[in-house]
C-alpha cells in the first residue's frame, strides 16, 4: 500500500506537464491566496470597526458561530448549481468555488480581528487616550499591534479552512490538489487519491508554518513573550 503511494508520488510522469503535481500545487496555492486576500479585504475592516467601536458586536458574534454550522460541501453545490449555467469559459469553474471559499474564509478572520481588538488591555487604551491620541491613532498604533496575535490566528484558521474547502471544490471542477483525490476516486486509483491527500496535508502544514513564521516576525516581542506564557 505505502509502496504504491510512494511510487505514484515519485513517478516522474506525475511531476511535469499540465495537471502534474507542481502544476496543481501552484493552482491550489493561487486559488487559496486569492480567496484569502478577498476574504481579508472584506473581513478585516469590518472586524476593526466592530472591535474599535463595539457596534454590531452581538450580530457579528452570532453570525460567525452560525456560519460555522453551514456545511461547506452543500454551499459549494448550491453555488455551482446557481452559477454554472450563467457563466462561460474558465470563469464558470472558478467563480462559484471562489465565492464559497471567500464566504467560508471570512468568519475566522472576523472573529480573530474582533476578539483581538476587544481584548486589548483597557489600561493601554486609556493611556493612549490620555496621551492625546485620536481614535485613528489609537486604532492603528495601539489596538492593532496589540491585536496582531489573534488577527494572525484568525488569518491562519481562515487559510486552513480555505485550503480544505478548495480541495473539496475539485468536485465542482476547480483545479488544485483536490483533482487527484476526486479523479483518483473516479478512476478507482487509491494510490493517486492517497498521494493527493498526502500532498494536500503537507501543503496545509507548510502554509501554516509560513504564517507562523510571519507572525513571529510581525508581532512585537513584548506581546509574543506574553502569548508564550
Amino acid at each position: 500500500m505505502i509502496a504504491t503511494i510512494w511510487a505514484w508520488l515519485t513517478d516522474p510522469a506525475n511531476w511535469s506537464g499540465a495537471g502534474s503535481i507542481p502544476d496543481q500545487t501552484l493552482e491550489h496555492l493561487r486559488l487559496s491566496f486569492i480567496a484569502l486576500a478577498v476574504a481579508a479585504l472584506i473581513a478585516i475592516p469590518i472586524g476593526l470597526y466592530v472591535g474599535h467601536t463595539g457596534r454590531g458586536r452581538v450580530v457579528l458574534v452570532n453570525l460567525v458561530s452560525a456560519f460555522r454550522a453551514i456545511p461547506s460541501l452543500g454551499v459549494l453545490f448550491i453555488a455551482a448549481l446557481l452559477l454554472l449555467p450563467r457563466l462561460r469559459g474558465e470563469l464558470a469553474f472558478e467563480l462559484p468555488s471562489l465565492i464559497v471559499l471567500v464566504l467560508l474564509g471570512m468568519p475566522p478572520i472576523l472573529s480573530g480581528v474582533y476578539a483581538g481588538i476587544q481584548q486589548v488591555d483597557p489600561a493601554a487604551r486609556d493611556a493612549a487616550r490620555g496621551m492625546g491620541m485620536t481614535g485613528q491613532q489609537r486604532l492603528w498604533q495601539v489596538e492593532v499591534p496589540c491585536a496582531l496575535p489573534l488577527i494572525f490566528s484568525g488569518l491562519r484558521s481562515s487559510m486552513l479552512q480555505i485550503i480544505a474547502t478548495a480541495t473539496i471544490a475539485a468536485v465542482v471542477g476547480l483545479g488544485g490538489l483536490g483533482r487527484f483525490l476526486i479523479d483518483g476516486q473516479a478512476n478507482r486509483k487509491y494510490d493517486e487519491m492517497a498521494g493527493g491527500a498526502i500532498l494536500v496535508a503537507v501543503l496545509a502544514l507548510l502554509v501554516d508554518l509560513v504564517f507562523a513564521a510571519l507572525q513571529r516576525y510581525a508581532v512585537s516581542p513584548g506581546l509574543a513573550s506574553e502569548a508564550r506564557r
Binding site: 500500500m1 505505502i2 503511494i5 458561530s65 452560525a66 460555522r68 454550522a69 453551514i70 456545511p71 461547506s72 460541501l73 452543500g74 454551499v75 453545490f77 448550491i78 455551482a80 448549481l81 446557481l82 486552513l160 485550503i163 480544505a164 480541495t167 473539496i168 468536485v171 465542482v172 483536490g178 483525490l181 476526486i182 476516486q185 487509491y190 487519491m193 492517497a194 493527493g196 491527500a197 498526502i198 494536500v200 496535508a201 496545509a204 502544514l205 501554516d208
Partner: protein, 213 residues
C-alpha cells in the same frame, strides 16, 4: 411526507447516522483530551509539544484524512469507522488546549483548600478541578460539535452515508431541493447538539445559576 422533492423519512435516517458520526467522536475525543490536557497542564515542559502536536492534526483537510485513514487503519474506504476516527482526531485537536486552559483556570487557592481538606490528587481532580473547568470545556465542546457536524458531510464524497449524501445526490441530478434540505438539516442538527451541550453544562454547574439569581 415529501419536501422539496425529498423523502423526509429518508432525511431522518440520514440525520440519525449523521448524528452518530458527529456525536460519538465528541465523547471519545473528550475522554482522550481530558488526560492529554491534564498532562499538558501539570508537566509544564509537555505543554508546547502536546498543544502543538494536537493542533497540527487540525491542519489536515478533512477529505485528505478520510482518504488516508483506510490506508493507515487497514479499513475499507466506505467503512464509517474512518469518519469516526477522523472526527475523533479533530475533536482532540480542538479540545486538548481547551481542557488544559479550563483546568488551568481553576484558582490556586481552591486547589489548596481541597488539598487542605484532605483530598488526594485523584479525588481532587474529579470532585473539584474538573467540575470547575466545565464551563470552559463546554465552550470548546460546542465549537467542536458544530464543526464536526459540518465536516462529517464531506464524507459523502467518499460514499459514507449521512446527510451529505443529499448534497452529492442533488448535485448529480442538478436538483437544488435535496441540497437545500440537507443544508437545513445539518444546521438544525448542529443547533440540536449545541442546545444539548448547553443543557448538560447547566445541569453540571448549578452554582452558576445560584450566583445569577
Amino acid at each position: 411526507m415529501r419536501i422539496f422533492g425529498t423523502d423526509l423519512s429518508e432525511v431522518l435516517d440520514l440525520a440519525v447516522s449523521h448524528a452518530w458520526l458527529a456525536g460519538l467522536p465528541l465523547l471519545i475525543g473528550l475522554l482522550i483530551s481530558l488526560p492529554l490536557g491534564w498532562v499538558a497542564l501539570r508537566r509544564r515542559w509537555l505543554y508546547p509539544p502536546v498543544i502543538a502536536g494536537t493542533g497540527l492534526l487540525y491542519t489536515i483537510p478533512s477529505l485528505a484524512l478520510f482518504v488516508l485513514l483506510p490506508g493507515i487503519l487497514g479499513t475499507q474506504i466506505l467503512d464509517p469507522l474512518n469518519v469516526i476516527v477522523a472526527m475523533t482526531l479533530y475533536t482532540i485537536a480542538l479540545l486538548t488546549r481547551t481542557v488544559a486552559d479550563g483546568l488551568g483556570s481553576v484558582p490556586d487557592h481552591v486547589r489548596q483548600a481541597a488539598t487542605a481538606m484532605g483530598y488526594g490528587p485523584v479525588r481532587r481532580f474529579f470532585v473539584v478541578e474538573l467540575p470547575l473547568a466545565v464551563p470552559v470545556i463546554s465552550a470548546g465542546l460546542r465549537v467542536a460539535a458544530v464543526s464536526n457536524v459540518s465536516m462529517v458531510s464531506v464524507a459523502a464524497l467518499i460514499g459514507v452515508s449521512q446527510l451529505g449524501m443529499l448534497f452529492t445526490d442533488g448535485f448529480s441530478r442538478s436538483a437544488m431541493g435535496p441540497i437545500v434540505v440537507g443544508v437545513i438539516a445539518c444546521v438544525l442538527l448542529a443547533i440540536l447538539f449545541d442546545l444539548l451541550i448547553l443543557l448538560v453544562t447547566r445541569v453540571l454547574t448549578p452554582w452558576l445559576r445560584v450566583v445569577r439569581a
